[in-house]
Structure formats: structure tokens, C-alpha cells
């Protein structure tokens, strides 16, 4: 059900967010945003054999922030590190059938969260 300015996909991911939670022994954790800016996302990744095998998130924010977080976790599961690294905010927004112009920053937050989590993974696992 579309609601207000949001697509049906955004509302679906807002109402039924996928992969909410934590990973206790996460390979990498990325935290971006700031409650002061209205949203904050924490992304947990489990990496095995160069692939993202699990992803979970917790997000404080608006409908677009929660939906972007949920969609992102769906998109990166099963991807190689390189593939996950290449995900952009545009990919996330498109997968949600678009976001209002003022909410594009929510998808940017999702992109930054993956990059931060992968940076954390690489720091913990130097090549």
C-alpha cells in the first residue's frame, strides 16, 4: 500500500523490514548518520569466503531511512565484497521504486553504511 509520498515498495520495507537485528560475531560493523540529522543506521555484516553471507541492521529514522536499510540488507546478501562495495545509493533508491527528492539522503546513508562496514571488515582482516 503506497502511503503519503512513498511507493508501495518503500511502505512494504517500512512495515515489514527485513533483517532487523544484530550479528553477535559480525565480521564488520558500519555506523553512519547521526540522530541530530534525523537518521542513524548501524549495519552488521557476516563475511565468509569473500562473500557477504548475512546482514542485519538497526536504524533510527524516517520511513525512507528504514526502508533503505531493509532494502540494502536484501541486496548485499550473497554478494562478493567487491559487488557489495560497488552498491550505490542510486541502486538502493531504484530498488525501492524511487524516493522523494528530500529523502535521497536516506539511500546515501545506506550506501555509506555498507562502505563503512566493509572498511571495518578490512581493518579487522588485513590482506
Amino acid at each position: 500500500m503506497a502511503s503519503g509520498p512513498y511507493s508501495e515498495k518503500v511502505m512494504d520495507h517500512f512495515m515489514n523490514p527485513r533483517n532487523v537485528g544484530e550479528i553477535e560475531d559480525a565480521s564488520g560493523v558500519g555506523e553512519v548518520g547521526n540522530p541530530a540529522c534525523g537518521d542513524m543506521m548501524r549495519l552488521y555484516l557476516k563475511v565468509e569466503g569473500g562473500k557477504v553471507v548475512d546482514a542485519k541492521f538497526r536504524t533510527f529514522g524516517c520511513g525512507a531511512a528504514i526502508a533503505s536499510s531493509s532494502m540494502l540488507t536484501e541486496m548485499i546478501k550473497g554478494k562478493t565484497i567487491e559487488e557489495a562495495q560497488a552498491i550505490t545509493n542510486r541502486h538502493v533508491a531504484d530498488a525501492l521504486d524511487g524516493l522523494p527528492a528530500v529523502k535521497i539522503h536516506c539511500s546515501v546513508m545506506a550506501e555509506e553504511a555498507v562502505k563503512a562496514a566493509l572498511d571495518d571488515y578490512r581493518k579487522k582482516n588485513p590482506a
Binding site: S3, A36, F60, V102, K103
Partner: protein, 403 residues
């Protein structure tokens, strides 16, 4: 599926009796009051005159003191800019409260550019303006004080009688924006000492597109829309006769019934407030605890964001408002257009947290069952958002276990 409208501060549904009063002026009696020699024009003149008397009676003004406008925004613009330009050589200084509506605050911008100075008076944590602050802010060159009657977002009723008395003593014009209050709580423009009063029809079950500025006799005001000689020369343009007839009818109904509405809304408001207080944690009510609009309950919740709360409530059939940044101006061009409410910032709601602010504003048609529905869905919505929130998780981890 529930369909519960708890957003009466944004607008109210048109009373069917108001629609009935408007209908003839769209179809059978379509005359222009300026063309008053023939029967059609005369019918329009009579309708506008009758409405003027009814709107005047609502706020104890004289009929000739009512200037119809397109709404509260235009009335506020006319009051601020019109009074500034009409005050002649007395001075170029205005005093306003920081919790005024945008149509007051933003009307000051072009004045500032033309050399006018503005002193902004603070509100306290309950959103109340201290009249002694107004007294201190008035200078010899002050021409106008503007303090609203009641704040839509947090429900606080301002001490306008005292502000009016101070303005009178200092011979300064006093404007009060009564958009949120008129038709809901008693307002006597003379007792309030108000020279200019803004009214909006669609906030008391009248039509959108019609408002009024009460202009006390003897006040010098410069028209802001130039053209013909309608509205005593204060507002050119053919009168919105159906809208004005509707505003008159809405004022007549409110004059008779608002006492009953207030009792009903007071009861609903207490039920909602008590229910929320006992079922939702990390809760902070906003606005004054007792001096507030009836049926108005506003608060913010820690660890949950306002737009998410609104979206979720809407899915559960409850329509409310929020002052949080994330829900503001969704039609803006970019995220710079998302700004937390200046009212919430003024009363000290932490600006380092984009809070879950909610305003529930009930109307005469709401019921106890609707309040109970809201109470049955709200705690679960808050809990679900908390469970998603990293800030709530961190908070829980800080609580000593088993404590």
C-alpha cells in the same frame, strides 16, 4: 479499517450546515457585491453583511471591524505589513514571539530588508510567552506587538490579555493570531486589548480559502492588495461570497456550540493523555499542562522518529501531525528543506535528537471509541520502532542487568 482524523490543527471537516449555507451562493445567488444595484448583487451584499455580523459576534468585535481575506496567511501578512506601513513616522520596530506561525515570522523578512527592526520574545519550556518580556522589548519606536492566542503545535494558550494591556499602556498596536483558537475557546477582542486579530474559517468547521482580519476602529492599516474598494479599502478583489457565507455560518454555529465542544474535547483529551502516559515510556508531553486548547495532546517519544510514527499511525488508520524535521516539507527540493519545528526548538526539545514529536488534535466529531483505538495501536507502534532503533539498543545496554 479505522479512519480516525486527529489532525484538526491542520484543518477541520466542513460542517454540513456550513455547506448548506454556502451552496446557494455558487448557483442561484451568484451576484457580485460590487454590482449592487440589481437583485443578484443585492443578495450577495446581504450575504456578506450577515456573515460580517456573525464573525464579529464570535469574537465580540463590531461588524465594520471585520475584513475578509483568503485565509489566515493573508490576514497575518496584512496585519504585520499593513500595520508597519500604516504607522507612519512613529517608528520601525516590531516585537513578536518566537513561537508564531510562519505567516507572521516570514512576513517580517521583507520589512527587515526595508530597515525595520524586530525583537523576538522567547517562550518558556511550556511554550508560554512572559508578558514582562514583551514589556521589556517595547521601545519608543515600537509600532506593533504580535503574540498568538494559542499555538497549534503544542496547544499552549498565551496570556494575550496581559500582553494586550501592556501594549495599550505603551500605545503600541497589538496583533494576535487566533487561527488555532477562534471558534474553540472564548475570545473577546476588547477584553484582550487586541487591535488586529487573525481568524481562519477552516479551523472551525468552515471552508478553506476564507479568513478574516479584525481591524479595530481607528487603527491605521495599509492595504496589501491594490485594486477596487472592497472590504473598506483594506482588501481589494471581488469577495469570495460562498466562502464568506460559509465562514459566517461556521462562526454562528461555533458561537452557540463551542462550549459543548470544549467539554466533549476536554474529556477526550484527558482520556487520550492519561492513556498515553500510562502505556508509552520515555514520553514527554509538550505545551502547557492546563492552559491549552481542548482536545489537544502533544508529546515526543525518545528513540523513535516522528515521521515513522506518523506513517505507522496512518497505516493503522490514525491521522496525526508531527513537528519533527523528517516529516517536514516532503515536497522540498533537497534535505536542506527538512527542518525541525521552530516551536519545538523554542521550548527546548533537544535539537540533537530528531525526536518523535506527535500532535493529536481532536475535533467535535471524534469519539471515545476513536481515542481507545489510538490507545490500542500506539504502544505497539512505538515498541516496533524502538526495536529497530540503534539508540534504543544502546540505551538498554547501559541499564544495569537485573536492576
Amino acid at each position: 479499517m479505522a479512519h480516525i482524523f486527529f489532525d484538526h490543527i491542520s484543518t477541520t471537516p466542513l460542517d454540513p450546515r456550513v455547506l448548506a449555507a454556502m451552496m446557494p451562493y455558487f448557483t442561484e445567488r451568484y451576484g457580485n457585491p460590487s454590482s449592487h444595484i440589481h437583485d443578484q448583487g443585492q443578495a450577495a451584499v446581504k450575504a456578506v453583511d450577515a456573515a460580517r455580523a456573525d464573525v464579529a459576534a464570535l469574537v465580540r468585535a463590531k461588524p465594520q471591524e471585520i475584513v475578509f481575506t483568503s485565509g489566515a496567511t493573508e490576514a497575518n501578512n496584512l496585519a504585520i505589513k499593513g500595520a508597519a506601513e500604516g504607522s507612519g513616522k512613529k517608528g520601525k520596530h516590531l516585537v513578536v514571539s518566537e513561537v508564531e506561525h510562519f505567516s507572521v515570522l516570514n512576513a517580517l523578512r521583507p520589512l527587515r530588508n526595508r530597515g525595520y527592526e524586530v525583537t523576538t520574545v522567547r517562550a518558556d519550556a511550556d511554550g508560554k510567552v512572559d508578558p514582562s518580556d514583551v514589556r521589556r522589548a517595547i521601545r519608543p519606536d515600537t509600532i506593533l506587538v504580535s503574540v498568538m492566542h494559542a499555538n497549534a503545535e503544542i496547544g499552549t494558550i498565551e496570556p494575550i490579555e496581559e500582553v494586550g494591556r501592556i501594549a495599550r499602556e505603551r500605545e503600541v498596536l497589538f496583533h494576535t493570531d487566533a487561527t488555532a483558537s477562534a471558534g474553540h475557546i472564548p475570545l473577546d477582542v476588547r477584553a484582550a486589548g487586541a487591535d488586529l486579530v487573525t481568524l481562519s474559517a477552516h479551523h472551525f468547521y468552515g471552508p478553506k480559502g476564507t479568513g478574516a482580519l479584525v481591524v479595530r476602529e481607528g487603527v491605521s492599516l495599509e492595504s496589501q492588495i491594490d485594486g477596487g474598494f472592497q472590504e473598506m479599502g483594506y482588501r481589494a478583489g471581488t469577495e469570495n461570497v460562498p466562502g464568506i457565507a460559509g465562514m459566517g455560518q461556521a462562526a454562528r454555529i461555533a458561537s452557540e456550540e463551542m462550549g459543548q465542544w470544549a467539554v466533549h474535547l476536554g474529556r477526550l483529551g484527558n482520556r487520550l493523555r492519561d492513556g498515553i502516559a500510562s502505556s508509552v515510556g520515555h514520553l514527554h508531553f509538550t505545551g502547557h499542562p492546563t492552559d491549552r486548547l481542548p482536545g489537544h495532546v502533544s508529546f515526543w517519544v525518545e528513540f523513535a522518529e516522528g515521521e515513522s510514527l506518523l506513517l505507522f499511525l496512518n497505516v493503522r488508520g490514525v491521522m496525526a501531525a508531527s513537528g519533527s524535521a523528517c516529516s517536514s516539507n516532503l515536497k522540498g527540493r533537497d534535505e536542506e528543506d527538512l527542518v525541525a519545528s521552530h516551536v519545538l526548538r523554542a521550548i527546548g526539545v533537544p535539537s540533537d535528537i530528531c525526536t518523535g514529536s506527535i500532535t493529536f488534535s481532536m475535533g467535535k466529531g471524534n469519539t471515545e471509541q476513536e481515542v481507545d483505538h489510538v490507545l490500542s495501536v500506539l504502544p505497539d507502534i512505538v515498541r516496533r520502532l524502538w526495536e529497530m532503533s540503534p539508540t534504543y539498543l544502546d540505551y538498554q545496554k547501559k541499564i544495569p542487568q537485573g536492576g
